[in-house]
Symmetry: C2
Subunit: 318 residues, 2 copies
């Protein structure tokens, strides 16, 4: 489902490092060469290049990229080159500092659209980098927002079973208990419990059964029946989307970052960089079906320069 | 702090495996040889022996031990030979099935007396073995016990920062917020929040500050001021002990398993097997100071046969 393209015959690690080193030296920086190397290597290659570069030149590739590049292009290349668990720990930390509504999406993406093992790695790296745990920081940043805090805490702390085994009886009884809680207009406790503990296979089975049995999707049903906390309801909607069909969520992230006046480059970069190797093909299809335009055209229309070239490279369009 | 003794010159892995194989073959089993080999090897050696044994004889060492041994001796040797994260996942699963008061201790020990990384490994292994997550099973087993369930869930889901950095201002303000919550006889929410997120260094600083500032230990203060939920109060007490001074908790586990009529071999085995390589020296000291008897004498008095020999080997007394 990745959109990046990797040469059939890869240069050696040393050759890649030497090309990068050359791009940094002399007058100006050769941005094209940087895109050419890093934009066409997978996560494992990039990690090896980082290690090899440090060994050869005794300097951190990330620091060198920071000093050579700037602006949105710099941010995109750095996020792409960093170890994914470090990248996500940093994104979560930034989001918790800013704490705007859209920043909660970052936490939901990491908690709900990652594998259990990746989420754990992000939490480990978070502790190492920031000397506090992700849970602690959510706890203090959302101290005044009881149920929202509880929801985020439970999601980031989860370690879901990732197999396909689903207990059909449990699916039916939980779909029913969710239905009752939602219709009694007290959905949050039960929704939080189920969404934060069950496996994705189990959740998908619940969502399907819910629609079949009650003739309405669980998201729509929550929206119709919750009047007291619009914000929490919209966050639950995003979480369900991230758990069930991340491609739909990320198509929306890209679209939201582009529509209207100006571009939200941070969100655009995050969506493309974090999903290029996971499900970007699906995101592009979803984008086309939903917005009747191509993701490629919208990126071209809203970005420019090396930043645009780099994003298009990750989209496999360059 | 380990009490096991390892020979200065270790036999090769192959020699150890051959000795075990010989102990299994022929008429009867040579239990002494099994104790001699496995009781004097550290966790890494035992893991290597398990792997090498499988390679040499195409059978699982654990399965073979299960078929050769029986009773408490079998259980102790198996728990000792298993990978520690598998062992703890199995102990947690057993405890959740039985769900007696003392079984909650097992969950608290794994959640509060382990490193963050070990706790994560236990959760990963739990998913692999039982096709559900530890949180899910706690959620369903304690569904009717709101705050207790919440406390256990939060503890097992934690990934604590393990460094020594402590924010003194935060320590003071949290000691104060705990004090206020406890004196207003509504301690649980705040106690659960702090105990399940903060680092052990931070918690120790809070406990010390609490005693200095308010003239009473936090445990005593919770006990004096909570009248509504004696069970949760006693569980919180055990959790604080596991977080702050595991040796005190495990000295009590051993003592409780021995005093009175009959012996609780499962608890005795668990305490000695899981702590022999971690802090058994401290546990023995604590035991002597607290009960005025040696742990050695009490084990000798309450156990017999190869089971006794094996426990004494792990205690470094044989």
């Amino acid at each position: 489902m990745s959109t990046i393209t990797i040469p059939d015959i890869l240069p050696s690690l040393k050759e890649d490092c030497m090309r990068l080193r050359k791009a940094f030296q002399g007058f100006g920086t050769d941005e094209k060469a940087i895109i050419e190397v890093l934009g066409h290597r997978d996560a494992r290659n990039r990690a090896e290049i980082s290690r090899c570069y440090y060994m050869l030149y005794n300097e951190s590739l990330i620091y060198r990229l920071k000093s050579e590049l700037s602006g949105d292009f710099q941010r995109a290349v750095i996020l792409w080159t960093e170890d994914p668990s470090k990248r996500d720990a940093e994104l979560a930390h930034e989001a918790l500092k800013r704490k705007k509504d859209q920043d909660i999406w970052v936490i939901l993406e990491i908690a709900c659209s990652s594998s259990s093992d990746h989420l754990i790695e992000v939490r480990q790296t978070y502790c190492l980098l920031f000397h506090s745990s992700l849970e602690e920081d959510i706890e203090s940043q959302f101290a005044q927002q009881g149920q929202l805090k509880e929801f985020l805490l439970r999601l980031v702390s989860s370690y879901r079973y990732e197999g396909d085994d689903v207990d059909e009886q449990l699916v039916k009884s939980e779909a029913n208990s969710l239905f009752c809680a939602i219709r009694e207009q007290q959905p949050y406790h039960e929704v939080i419990r189920v969404l934060s503990t069950r496996s994705k296979a189990h959740l998908n089975a619940i969502f399907q059964h819910y629609k079949q049995e009650y003739g309405i999707s669980i998201i729509e049903d929550i929206e119709c029946n919750s009047t007291d906390d619009k914000k929490l309801t919209s966050i639950i909607k995003v979480a369900i989307c991230c758990l069930q069909s991340p491609e739909k969520h990320f198509a929306q992230v890209v679209n939201t970052s582009i529509i209207g006046f100006g571009t939200d480059e941070d969100s655009l970069t995050r969506a493309i960089v974090t999903r290029a190797e996971i499900d970007m093909k699906l995101i592009k299809e979803e984008y086309k079906n939903r917005y009747n335009r191509t993701l490629h055209d919208d990126v071209v229309g809203d970005t420019s320069g090396y930043y645009r070239d780099f994003l298009l490279t990750l989209l496999g369009d360059k």
